[in-house]
Assembly symmetry: C2
Homo-oligomer: 245 residues x 2
């Protein structure tokens, strides 16, 4: 893998997570790159409009916005699906999320917020772990066995709440259940008080492995609520699949 390209994106991604916080020297220190090297990358990226510098701290640049706006997964998939998600949100009045596999995590592609007060903090573009979120487990459940096993084997099962599955065997069992039931539940595994019900979504043509979910305060997720939600999610999925025939 090209060292230069790798380093360039290492810098970009570091900046993405700490916009406006780091100077050249900081970045050089944090990334353990020579100061001159860091300088040259920052300089090049700035000239390409990929980064933007304000008072010697770095931000993501307009060029990334332009490119991001043209990502197929966004333009075709998100745009087509959005109205269906809005409708789902309206029906259930819980926050609706769309996520897809990205490396060994899930990326939030779209979100329609309910009118309720409590909201999850994740925003579009954020990444979330696969093993302790509704969408994540739903995605794991539909991946080709080889890939799924590979991920399950390598993911670090860190306990985020006391409900988080930290045992690989338990996770595998959970994935089997999801395959049988057709939906996954995150029962306060990622955040206390937050429950999430998800169904997997696969778009063959787009090499898309994702999921749609409804999430909200645990108190509103009784057995019956959940089965209503699962039905609604499955209906929404049918409508989505119809769009991509």
């Amino acid at each position: 893998m090209s060292q230069s390209v790798q380093r360039a994106f290492e810098i970009i991604r570091k900046i993405a997570d700490h916009q406006g916080e780091h100077t050249l020297s900081d970045l050089s220190r944090i990334l353990q790159m020579n100061k001159t090297t860091t300088f040259r990358y920052l300089d090049s990226l700035e000239k390409l409009d990929i980064l933007e510098r304000r008072r010697n701290t770095y931000f993501l640049g307009i060029g990334l916005f332009e490119l991001g706006a043209k990502v197929d997964a966004k333009t075709s998939i998100v745009n087509s699906i959005h109205p269906i998600l809005e409708d789902l949100c309206l029906r259930m009045n819980e926050t609706v999320n769309l996520a897809r596999l990205s490396g060994d995590q899930a990326t939030y592609l779209d979100k329609v917020e309910s009118t309720r007060g409590m909201q999850m903090k994740a925003t579009v573009g954020d990444k979330l772990p696969l093993y302790c979120t509704g969408v994540g487990k739903a995605i794991l459940s539909i991946l080709p066995p080889e890939q799924s096993n590979q991920l399950v084997k390598n993911i670090e099962l860190k306990a985020i709440t006391s409900h988080t599955l930290t045992d690989r065997g338990a996770l595998k069992q959970a994935l089997d259940d999801i395959r049988n039931n057709g939906f996954s539940i995150d029962d306060e595994e990622y955040e206390f008080g937050l429950t999430c019900v998800a169904v997997p979504l696969r778009l063959e043509k787009y090499n898309f492995f994702g999921a749609i979910s409804l999430s909200g305060q645990t108190v509103r997720f009784s057995e019956e609520d959940i089965s209503r939600m699962v039905e609604a999610l499955k209906t929404a999925r049918q409508r989505i699949l119809a769009v991509f025939e």
Copy 2:
């Protein structure tokens, strides 16, 4: 400027404009890069989730979406401004656009479409020329003189319609008028039947040179319409500036 970084983004940008159209060999030919070199860049970028390969043709990858979603100009500026633009659209029932300077062009950052049938085809993320669009000329009018002159001197003034200003002197005169009047008009200079009224928008803190505009069918842009629109645009700008105090 780092050759590798430059080449990597050259490839990315080419793919952005022709997603799914080109294979490795094509790109190597088009960009006049050695096949092996092209291969290595594509390979690295794919591994970094910046590009995605489907049946040996390349698409922008989910990694770019993630980064694009985090661009400050989008998250802070666009998100804060959007409701004001929606309100403006509602009042005037013409399509509202937000654009900013990006290199020697203007990038559409946001758009709220009117309920009317005829719509411009440009979408968020697209770039438009500075010399023959409402937002473009508005932006040129508020840039530091040096930068503005530099751009005016170097831009190729290609006639897109018969109304397009192709004379550098005429463009300079137009920019002076805009500075005096505080608004710019694109009178079918970019597309027949399309008129656009814009006011410049400057956000000091963000190093932001942009403009907001109302655009629609020329028949609806009488003298009085235009002055009503300019007033509405100026009011909207005031509200925007208030957000960023």
